[in-house]
C-alpha cells in the first residue's frame, strides 16, 4: 500500500522530547476512545451471551474454570433465541427503521428548499437565517420535544384552536400517536439535515446554473440535472446524521409516542430499566449495532472526502 512510498516526514532522528510529545498527543485521545468507546462494545457483546440472575451485577459469568472442566463455557444463545421468537423485537426493529427512514425523507423534503434559500440569500440575511437554524440545535433537545406535548395534548393548544374555529367538536388524539413521533423527530433533527445541505449548496459554483440556463435548460431541469447531483454529498451526510440516531431514539417515542409505538431504543431502555434484564438488553443492543454499523461507515466516508 501507500507505506511502500517514502514519505516526506522526519528523515533525521527525532529528538526524544518530540517523540514523546507526538506519542502523547496521539496516544491520550486514542487510548481514551479505545477504552471508553470501542472496548465497551466488546463487553456488550460478551454479556449478550450471559444469563440474567438476581444479583449485583445481574448476569452470570461466561467462564467457570472450577471443578467441572468439561463445562467451563457458560455462554448461551438463549437471549438471541428469545429475540427471534418474540414478535415484539422484530416489530420494534422494523418500525424503528421505518420511522427513521420516513422522518429522514420528510426532513430532506422540508430542509432542502430551506438550505437552498439560505445559500442563495444575500450575505447578511444568510448569516441571520443560518443562526436561526443553529439556535434550536443549541437549545435543549428534551425541552423542544416537551414543547410539542403542550401543543398536541388533549387540552393542548392545537385542539382548543381547532375547536374554537369550529372545525372539530371533540379533541383529536394527536399526542401519544405515531404522527406525534414523526413530528418530533423531524422537528428536532431538521437542523442536522439543513446544515450539511447548506454547506454543499453554498460552495456550489453558480456559473454552472447560468451555463445550463444559457444552453436552454428550464429551471427545474437545471435543478434536476445540475443542482441535485452536485448536492449529493450534503444529502448523504444530512440523511445519515438524521437516520442513524433516529433509529435508536428513546426520548421522542417515550414522550410523544403511544404505548404501541414500539421503537427499539425504547424497547431496549425498558428491557434494561424496567425488566432489569441486562443480558437481553445487550443482545438487543448488539443487533441494533449491526443494523447501524453500515450507515455509520458510510457516514465516516462522507466525512472524510469533503475536498
Amino acid at each position: 500500500m501507500s507505506d511502500s512510498k517514502p514519505v516526506l516526514t522526519t528523515r533525521y532522528r527525532q529528538p526524544l522530547g518530540d517523540k514523546l510529545w507526538r506519542r502523547f498527543v496521539i496516544g491520550v485521545p486514542y487510548f481514551w476512545l479505545l477504552l471508553f468507546f470501542l472496548a465497551p462494545f466488546a463487553i456488550v457483546f460478551k454479556i449478550s451471551f450471559a444469563t440474567p440472575i438476581v444479583a449485583q451485577p445481574p448476569f452470570t459469568q461466561l467462564f467457570d474454570f472450577g471443578t467441572d472442566t468439561t463445562h467451563w463455557l457458560l455462554a448461551t444463545w438463549d437471549n438471541y433465541r428469545f429475540l427471534t421468537e418474540d414478535n415484539l423485537y422484530w416489530v420494534s426493529y422494523f418500525k424503528s427503521i421505518k420511522i427513521a427512514a420516513i422522518s429522514t425523507f420528510i426532513c430532506l423534503l422540508v430542509g432542502y428548499p430551506m438550505a437552498y434559500g439560505i445559500a442563495r440569500a444575500a450575505p447578511t440575511t444568510r448569516n441571520i437565517l443560518l443562526m436561526l437554524v443553529i439556535l434550536p440545535f443549541w437549545t435543549s433537545f428534551l425541552l423542544r420535544v416537551y414543547a410539542w406535548m403542550g401543543l398536541l395534548g388533549k387540552n393542548g393548544i392545537v385542539n382548543s384552536l381547532l375547536i374554537n374555529i369550529g372545525l372539530i367538536d371533540s379533541p383529536l388524539q394527536m399526542l401519544y400517536t405515531d404522527m406525534a413521533v414523526y413530528l418530533g423527530i423531524v422537528y428536532t433533527y431538521i437542523p442536522f439535515m439543513i446544515l450539511p445541505l447548506y454547506a454543499t449548496l453554498e460552495k456550489m459554483d453558480t456559473s454552472l446554473h447560468d451555463a445550463a440556463a444559457d444552453l436552454g435548460a428550464k429551471p427545474w431541469q437545471t435543478f434536476i440535472d445540475v443542482t441535485l447531483p452536485l448536492s449529493m454529498p450534503g444529502i448523504i451526510a444530512g440523511s445519515l446524521l438524521v437516520f442513524i440516531p433516529a433509529i435508536g431514539e428513546y426520548v421522542i417515542p417515550a414522550l410523544l409516542g403511544g404505548l404501541d409505538s414500539l421503537m427499539i431504543g425504547r424497547t431496549l431502555y425498558d428491557e434494561f430499566f424496567v425488566n432489569r434484564d441486562w443480558p437481553l438488553a445487550s443482545a438487543v443492543a448488539t443487533i441494533l449495532l449491526i443494523i447501524v454499523v453500515i450507515p455509520i461507515m458510510l457516514f465516516q466516508r462522507s466525512q472524510q472526502e469533503p475536498e
Binding site: 485521545p29 476512545l33 430542509g111 433537545f141 430499566f273 455509520i296
Partner: protein, 270 residues
C-alpha cells in the same frame, strides 16, 4: 425563475414557523396564571417562584452545571489533541482505526453508547475496583467520551481549512513540535476550541439517555429530573424552566455571533 424563488421563500417561512412556533408558545405559556395548558388566565410569574422554591430542581441544575463544565473542559483538551493527531501528525500505526472511531460517537444511537459505557464501568469495577460507585464521575466520563468527538470534528475542520504555511515556517525555523503547537497552532484554533467547549457544555447539560444509564442511585441530573416530571404530562413550572434555559442559551448565541460578526467586519476594514 420568479416562481421558483417564491417557492423557496415560502419554504423558508414555513420552515422557520415550524421551528419557532412551538418554542414561542412554550415561552408564552410559562407566564400563564392558569395551571391548564391551553387556557390563558392572565400574566403571572407564579411558576417562576414555584421553580426557585423547588430544591430538587435547583440541586439537579447545580449538579448538571458542574458535570457540564468539567466534561466540556476535558472534552476540549482531548478533542483538540485528537484534531491535531488527525491533521498534523502524518502517518502512524492505527490511524485508520482512530479516524474510524473519532466520528462514530456523533451518530451512535444514545441507548447503545449508554448501555455499553455502563457495562464497561461495571466490568472495570469487578476487575480493578474502580469506579467505586456510579454517579457524577461516571456521567462525566461518559460525557467526555461523546462530546470529545464533537470538539475533534470542529477543531479538525478548522485545522484542515487553515493555512499550513505558518506551521511549516515555524517548523523550518527549527521550532520543536510542542513549541509550535503552543505558540502557533493553538492560538490560531482558539476560537474553534471555544465553540467546541460551548458545544460540549450544552450537549452535556442536555443529555438524558446516557446519563440515565451511567448514573448510580444517588445522582440525578437536571434532564433526569425534568424527564421524570414531564413523562406524565405538561407541568407549568417546567415551562418556566424551559424559558429560562432557552432564553439564556439564545442570548449567549446571539451575543457570540454579534461579536464574531463585528470582528469579521473589522478584519475586512482593517
Amino acid at each position: 425563475m420568479q416562481k421558483s424563488s417564491r417557492f423557496v421563500f415560502s419554504a423558508l417561512c414555513f420552515g422557520f414557523a415550524f421551528l419557532y412556533i412551538p418554542i414561542l408558545v412554550l415561552i408564552a405559556f410559562s407566564f400563564n396564571q392558569s395551571a391548564i395548558a391551553s387556557v390563558w388566565g392572565g400574566f403571572s410569574l407564579r411558576w417562576y417562584t414555584a421553580l426557585f422554591n423547588n430544591e430538587q430542581i435547583i440541586e439537579a441544575a447545580l449538579l448538571s452545571l458542574k458535570i457540564a463544565a468539567t466534561s466540556a473542559t476535558f472534552a476540549t483538551i482531548l478533542g483538540t489533541m485528537a484534531g491535531l493527531a488527525l491533521t498534523q501528525m502524518g502517518r502512524y500505526r492505527g490511524r485508520l482505526v482512530f479516524t474510524g472511531i473519532i466520528a462514530a460517537p456523533l451518530v451512535m444511537p444514545e441507548v447503545i453508547t449508554g448501555l455499553s459505557l455502563l457495562l464497561m464501568f461495571v466490568s472495570l469495577q469487578e476487575l480493578i475496583g474502580w469506579p467505586v460507585s456510579r454517579g457524577a464521575s461516571t456521567i462525566t466520563i461518559a460525557h467526555i467520551t461523546f462530546s470529545m468527538a464533537y470538539v475533534a470534528v470542529v477543531v479538525q475542520s478548522r485545522l484542515s481549512s487553515m493555512d499550513q504555511s505558518l506551521h511549516e515556517a515555524a517548523m523550518d525555523l527549527g521550532g520543536r513540535p510542542m513549541q509550535v503547537a503552543f505558540d502557533i497552532t493553538l492560538p490560531l484554533i482558539a476560537p474553534s476550541m471555544l465553540s467546541g467547549w460551548l458545544l460540549a457544555f450544552t450537549l452535556s447539560l442536555d443529555d438524558l439517555v446516557i446519563a440515565s444509564f451511567t448514573s448510580g442511585a444517588g445522582a440525578s441530573t437536571l434532564p433526569m429530573v425534568i424527564f421524570s416530571k414531564i413523562k406524565l404530562g405538561v407541568t407549568p413550572d417546567i415551562n418556566a424552566l424551559a424559558t429560562l434555559i432557552i432564553g439564556t442559551v439564545s442570548m449567549g448565541i446571539i451575543i457570540a455571533s454579534l461579536i464574531m460578526f463585528r470582528q469579521n467586519k473589522l478584519n475586512k476594514v482593517g
